[in-house]
């Protein structure tokens, strides 16, 4: 294996705040790690825990979920529902052994291009140090091999 490990980060973001913030980072020519794959949803309220599990199953080493600050949701209350959901889901993932550092949540507004860039860089570096999410990916590899019976 000659290539150094490049973490795969998947970011589920809302259209009206975080995606716009990411766009601002782009138009401001702020450099941030190319490791992130951004998936745009209308609102964090739309983000189902299924998405996070699917991202991990497909080989993500870390997942970011980000949306509008409380009170600023484009759809009024989507992020409040999301916040509750994340509290519960995060506790579940933690209890079953999926490290907290692999799934992160943030509020990033449309004006916070710099925050988006900094956060992506931080997550990428942290995940590079953490290494690939081998425990989960190992489960996936086992499926792709011959039956053990």
């Amino acid at each position: 294996m000659s290539e150094p490990f490049e973490p795969k980060i998947v970011a589920f973001v809302c259209t009206y705040c975080t995606y716009a913030g990411a766009d601002l980072a782009g138009t401001s020519r702020l450099k941030y790690a190319p490791n992130v794959r951004i998936v745009r949803l209308p609102c964090t309220g739309r983000i189902s825990p299924m998405f996070i599990l699917k991202a991990l199953q497909k080989g993500a080493d870390a997942v970011l979920v980000s949306g509008c600050h409380p009170g600023d949701c484009h759809f009024s209350a989507g992020n409040y529902h999301a916040r509750r959901r994340w509290t519960v889901f995060r506790a579940l993932l933690s209890f079953t052994g999926i490290p907290d550092e692999r799934i992160r949540f943030s509020w990033i507004s449309a004006a916070e291009g710099a925050k988006f860039a900094e956060l992506i860089n931080e997550i990428t570096e942290d995940t590079r140090k953490l290494g690939p999410f081998e425990q989960y990916q190992e489960l996936q590899k086992v499926i792709e091999t011959q039956s053990s019976y």
């Binding site: 497909k58 499926i143 792709e144 011959q146 039956s147 019976y149």
Partner: protein, 337 residues
């Protein structure tokens, strides 16, 4: 002259088979469950169980099995057939009900298509059955015309000795003979009294049951609605049954690549017969329960000349609502004719 194998020589036996390239699987406690697992020495084996909670079916028809790895290209589809591991295995300490389960399923897996996944494993495995000396309230092998010391499905038959020192050895098949030949020095020519099999009272009259099921006018009987009221429609009975064999083919992967798998399925599931149109011919639990009984004691009998049941009783033992086929077949036996 009868032959015996002493328990004290079992370790040597296992070692012999292992050095001949066999993996030895036997009843073990694994993750708080009794099942068949690979053992290294005799002390790993749980010989005192009535029967293991999981069956040896897992090792011939795994609950999930990859069949084909495929990749969809621009002009073609590349596929690689995935095969079961080439492993020689000895199953030591199989109960007669589990062994007969394999024999009951053989005609099905070789019926209109020879299922290589099943037969490769069957051909590479030797079944050493140990006759039962104890039964519990759920056992019903005698009701389906089997017995605690049946040799059906066995390659080698061991009968526990009355003095507890080992087993009487009987060769049943060529495969069994070939295996025993590798440990002939460990088996002694000696007569020793065998422990009696347990009394397993017949719980229902299978002949009467089959007759009632064969009568077409009973298909729509109110009996089915009444008897199945508490069935919740899970797959416990199906998945823990030595003879149940239904499966679902599922493609797992992305748009352009994936693996086609064969997974256990159960006729108790609500969506088992769901059509693409949305119509479901068995859309009530009572019709699904009826299917289960009819399949095991009528349709399978008609096709293969044997009932798809070995009388192990796991269906009732593990059922979350204490159902299982025994109660239904008792009720049919007692129906006014």
């Amino acid at each position: 002259m009868t032959r015996i194998l002493l328990k004290s020589r079992l370790d040597d036996c296992l070692a012999s088979w292992q050095s001949a390239g066999f993996s030895v699987l036997a009843p073990v406690q694994r993750h708080e469950m009794s099942t068949f697992g690979e053992v290294q020495k005799a002390s790993d084996i749980s010989l005192d169980l009535v029967l293991t909670e999981r069956t040896i079916k897992d090792h011939f028809f795994p609950q999930t099995e990859p069949l084909i790895r495929y990749k969809i290209g621009r002009q073609q589809i590349d596929s690689v057939t995935m095969t079961p591991p080439e492993r020689k295995r000895v199953f030591f300490g199989v109960r007669p009900c589990d062994a007969s389960g394999l024999a009951i399923d053989d005609p099905l897996f070789g019926w209109d298509y020879k299922d290589d996944y099943w037969f490769r494993r069957r051909e590479n495995s030797v079944i050493i059955t140990i006759a039962c000396t104890q039964a519990d309230d759920f056992c019903m092998c005698t009701s389906v015309k089997l017995s605690p010391d049946s040799t059906k499905g066995a390659d080698v038959m061991l009968r526990p000795l009355a003095n507890g020192s080992g087993w009487q050895v009987e060769t049943i098949s060529e495969r069994g003979k070939a295996l025993l030949d590798t440990v002939s020095s460990l088996i002694q020519e000696e007569s020793s009294e065998t422990a009696p099999p347990p009394e397993v009272a017949e719980k229902f009259d299978v002949g009467k049951v089959m007759e009632w099921l064969a009568d077409k006018k009973n298909f729509e009987s109110q009996f089915w609605k009444d008897i199945a009221l508490r069935c919740v429609g899970c797959g416990s009975c199906t998945f823990l049954c030595p003879t149940c064999h239904c499966f679902d083919i599922q493609d797992e992967g992305d748009t352009y690549q994936g693996i086609r798998r064969k997974n256990w399925d159960s006729c108790s599931f609500a969506l088992f017969t769901m059509h693409t149109s949305g119509h479901n011919p068995r859309n009530t639990q009572s019709t699904r329960w009826r299917q289960r009984i009819m399949h095991k004691f009528n349709y399978y009998q008609g096709k293969f000349g044997v009932n798809s049941c070995s009388g192990c009783g796991r269906c009732t033992r593990q059922c979350p609502v204490d159902m299982g086929i025994t109660e239904t077949l008792q009720a049919i036996t007692n129906l006014p004719r």
